[in-house]
């Protein structure tokens, strides 16, 4: 196992997870997970279905409860927070779900959806017109998109709106859970270009969950490989890809269709 993480968190980190364990009854789903997602960087989290990568994402957002360990968001351990402070911290971690067809309420305009992210109480799109236009601009959508309903957009455009919503609050951490897996390859390419174009303009840390190493290579700075609930390898993309240490990482690298290592024989 190769890791490049200091034992103590620094302020620099958007999110720092230490010795995180999650159990569902007798099932030990996350085992001693330790990783860091520095502010302004994109860390890819790869692994097969059932490896625990989605569980990790959901635990960071607060949907699942940690059994033990620390989750520092901006230096604060969110596993120990309660009440109002916990609700506030929830807004610091945003989640982009996989399926753009179910992540937007069909009866609300894009403007209403985005206004709700800014202001969960009022959610008035007129008050926040400029902020909404800026958020749409950021994901390369026309400001007029604010007036439209989800069914008027394609899957790729919907995913852009979901990204805009997650980034709107300038959260400390964004969890992107397989956000390109449900898309056609050509649409996936659009989203990848969008994320590449945003590099350096976003202060949030992003955990990019995927099972395709080629996508991770194009979007992320670092990669974390999970296997059976454990992190088996992590580090900068280049070094992990050049010199994979774990069998599963090698298998993943050889499974990208269209890449030189790929063969059906």
């Amino acid at each position: 196992m190769t890791t490049h993480i200091q034992s103590r968190p620094a302020v620099l980190y958007g999110a720092q997870v230490s010795n995180l364990n999650v159990r569902f009854g007798s099932a030990h789903v996350l085992k001693d997970v330790t990783l860091a997602v520095p502010a302004g960087t994109v860390v890819g989290l790869v692994g097969e279905s059932g490896s625990g990568k989605s569980t990790l994402g959901k635990t960071l957002v607060g949907i699942n409860k940690a059994s033990s360990g620390e989750v520092l968001i901006g230096g604060e351990d969110v596993t120990r927070l309660h009440g109002k402070r916990r609700r506030q911290m929830r807004r610091e971690v945003q989640y982009i779900p996989q399926d753009p067809y179910s992540s937007l309420s069909p009866r609300r305009t894009t403007g209403q959806t985005l206004a709700e992210a800014l202001d969960p109480h009022g959610a008035n799109p007129v008050q926040h017109r400029e902020a909404i236009a800026a958020a749409l601009e950021r994901v390369k959508l026309d400001p007029s998109a604010a007036e439209k309903y989800p069914h008027q957009f394609s899957g790729g455009q919907r995913q852009r709106i979901a990204i805009a919503r997650a980034l709107m609050l300038e959260p400390k951490l964004v969890i992107a859970d397989e956000i390109t897996s449900a898309l056609d390859v050509s649409v996936q390419a659009d989203i990848i270009r969008l994320l590449q174009g945003m590099r350096g303009t976003v202060d949030s840390a992003m955990l990019f969950i995927s099972h395709n190493l080629a996508v991770v290579q194009q979007v992320c700075d670092e990669v974390v490989v999970m296997f059976q609930g454990r992190i088996v390898e992590q580090g900068p993309i280049e070094s992990v890809y050049r010199d994979p240490q774990h069998d599963y990482t090698r298998k993943l690298l050889a499974s990208v269709p269209g890449s030189p290592g790929f063969s059906l024989d």
Binding site: S103, A123, D184, A189, Y241, P257
Partner: protein, 550 residues
């Protein structure tokens, strides 16, 4: 919509006008008692000489108002309680749902009778009784809808954004439940109509001298043997009112979900089950000028022609909506019921796919592997009975023999403990395992053609590689022809001999695997698809030690 709405509009018009113009005829006592139908009194008169048609029409107002009142009580209180239950904590919710279930199990009319008996009989107590009796059912439905909407990702996201539960209910849940609730309200209205009429009929509802449809029916009871025509007016009015509301409900449902609309379209099928194969045509599959359209609507597949030789692996590649799955399903003889399929020729072997081919041959000769291994299997049946079905029904194998064949097939696709898997339910297997089981089952009949509709799209990349290898192995060992649907050129590149690129219902480019490998493509759309493939760059070091094992 128009029939139901027209009927209801007419009834409402009657409810407004009749009491203004016909009250005298309906309520004035005259000497013309108990007359039969005549030009002056179309439905005759009652024992007090009152015109029965006028009475039935005047009664419409009171009946409609009472029904609307009762239905409103059921719907408003039902929605409020249903939502409140969802908003409450888990423990309160569980208890409240059990209480509701108990209330729903109790017949609402008996419930209403008890309430009506406790209250003084009359208009308002009938409305209250029927209204309250309808609450539990509607609350239960609302709670069910709320729980399904609340698990949707947009509600989860709103919760993560810190939106309060009450706001989530108002902003996200109610609007997204409005349609089914509205449709169900029509049903509640019709039920309330019948129950209020029943209540008045047995004397616990409207009291003389007031009258609604139920009261009129009650009045007609005494003369049922001497002058049965008295019962006609109120009966017909109850039936018409109920019918108008149910028609509106059906129309609303059809509008909300176009699939619920009954389609009168029937695909015209050719008579001849065997297609004439011209001499020298060695292709296994031939489609000539295949056209698929929505009847009276757009053409989804436009004049495409393709052929698959025995043992050839052909890919259909394109984005969602390009018509690739429609084409494949038409070739497999399973086009959607409401689509029109035409072609100059569409055959698989000698089977004419424009006719209705012999089911048993269809099952043997063509196997289909679907996209989502999570939904291909019936979750309530064990793997064994599902996987052996084709062998038992179409090949006439005994249970034990069929199981043995499937066990061998599962072992062939590297499924461990195959005998034990047959006793398991689909959810106990992983997605990759289910898909491999599907592939294993698809080849036991030694089909001539396997149609695979995005068989790896729902799978992880490593599992995808494994599944693709299984297709490759089957092709090598059995020489089965395949039609492989995908949106990813990289996936089909390693597997297919011929690649057809589809866009908006047309084949825009035909490539051999060699051309694709050499990137010898011409159409801009194909180039765009190629450019979209995420590939590793630069190439990773060739895996040496501990090389990936299939």
């Amino acid at each position: 919509m128009s029939t139901g709405a027209g009927l209801l509009a007419a009834l409402i018009l009657i409810a407004i006008i009749a009491p203004l113009t016909m009250t005298q005829a309906a309520e004035q006592l005259t000497a013309n008692a108990a007359l039969g139908p005549s030009p002056e009194h179309w439905l005759g008169t009652d024992d007090f000489g009152r015109d029965l048609l006028s009475r039935a029409l005047v009664a419409t107002r009171l009946t409609l108002l009472m029904t609307a009142g009762a239905a409103a009580i059921s719907v408003v209180a039902g929605v409020a309680i249903g939502l409140a239950i969802w908003l409450a904590g888990r423990r309160v919710r569980e208890v409240a749902l059990r209480v509701l279930e108990t209330a729903v199990a109790y017949p609402s009319l008996i419930f209403a009778l008890v309430i009506a008996a406790v209250l003084e009989p009359g208009v308002s107590s009938a409305v209250i009784a029927i209204g309250i009796a309808g609450i539990p059912g509607f609350a239960r439905i609302t709670a069910n809808l709320a729980s399904s909407v609340s698990s949707s990702e947009y509600v989860v996201t709103a919760r993560l954004l810190g939106v309060s539960p009450v706001r989530i209910a108002a902003r996200h849940m109610l609007p997204n439940m409005a349609e089914p609730l509205l449709i169900l309200s029509a049903t509640v209205f019709a039920l309330s109509l019948v129950e209020i009429s029943a209540l008045s009929f047995i004397g616990l509802g409207v009291q003389s001298p007031q009258y609604d449809f139920g009261r009129l029916l009650n009045d007609s009871l005494g003369a049922l043997y001497t002058q049965p025509v008295e019962a006609v007016g109120p009966s017909v009015m109850i039936a018409l009112t109920g019918l108008s509301v149910m028609l509106i409900g059906d129309a609303l449902a059809a509008q909300a979900d176009p699939r619920a609309k009954r389609s009168f379209f029937r695909r015209s099928l050719q008579r001849d089950r065997t297609a004439g194969v011209p001499a020298g045509d060695t292709a296994l599959v031939r489609a000539e000028n295949l056209r698929i359209s929505i009847p009276g609507g757009p053409q989804l597949v436009k004049n495409i022609s393709l052929s698959i030789d025995p043992g050839e692996v052909v890919a259909l590649v394109g984005e969602s909506g390009s018509g690739k799955s429609l084409t494949a399903m038409a070739i497999a003889g399973l086009p959607s019921e409401d689509l029109a399929v035409e072609a100059d020729m569409l055959r698989v072997g000698e089977m004419n796919m424009l006719a209705s081919p012999d089911q048993s041959r269809l099952a043997k000769d063509i196997s289909i592997v679907y996209q989502d291994p999570g939904t291909t299997f019936n979750p309530s049946l064990r793997m064994g009975s599902q996987l052996t079905e084709v062998l038992r029904t179409h090949l006439g194998m005994g249970g034990a023999k069929a199981r043995q064949v499937i066990i061998d097939a599962l072992a062939n696709v590297n499924i461990t403990q195959p005998a034990q898997r047959l006793r398991q339910h689909p959810h106990e297997l992983s997605g990759g395992m289910r898909q491999r089981a599907m592939i294993a089952a698809s080849i036991v009949t030694s089909p001539k053609l396997i149609v695979a509709d995005e068989p790896t799209t729902a799978l992880d990349v490593t599992v995808q590689t494994d599944v693709l290898r299984q297709f490759r192995r089957i092709h090598r060992e059995q020489g089965t022809a395949m039609l492989f649907i995908s949106h990813d050129l990289a996936v089909v590149e390693a597997l297919c001999d011929t690649i057809l690129v589809m866009k908006s219902g047309e084949i825009v480019e035909r490539l051999t695997s060699a051309q694709l490998a050499a990137r010898d493509v011409h159409h801009p759309y194909t180039k765009a698809l190629l450019a979209a493939i995420p590939t590793l760059e630069p190439a990773p070091a060739p895996a040496t030690a501990g090389a990936p094992t299939p």
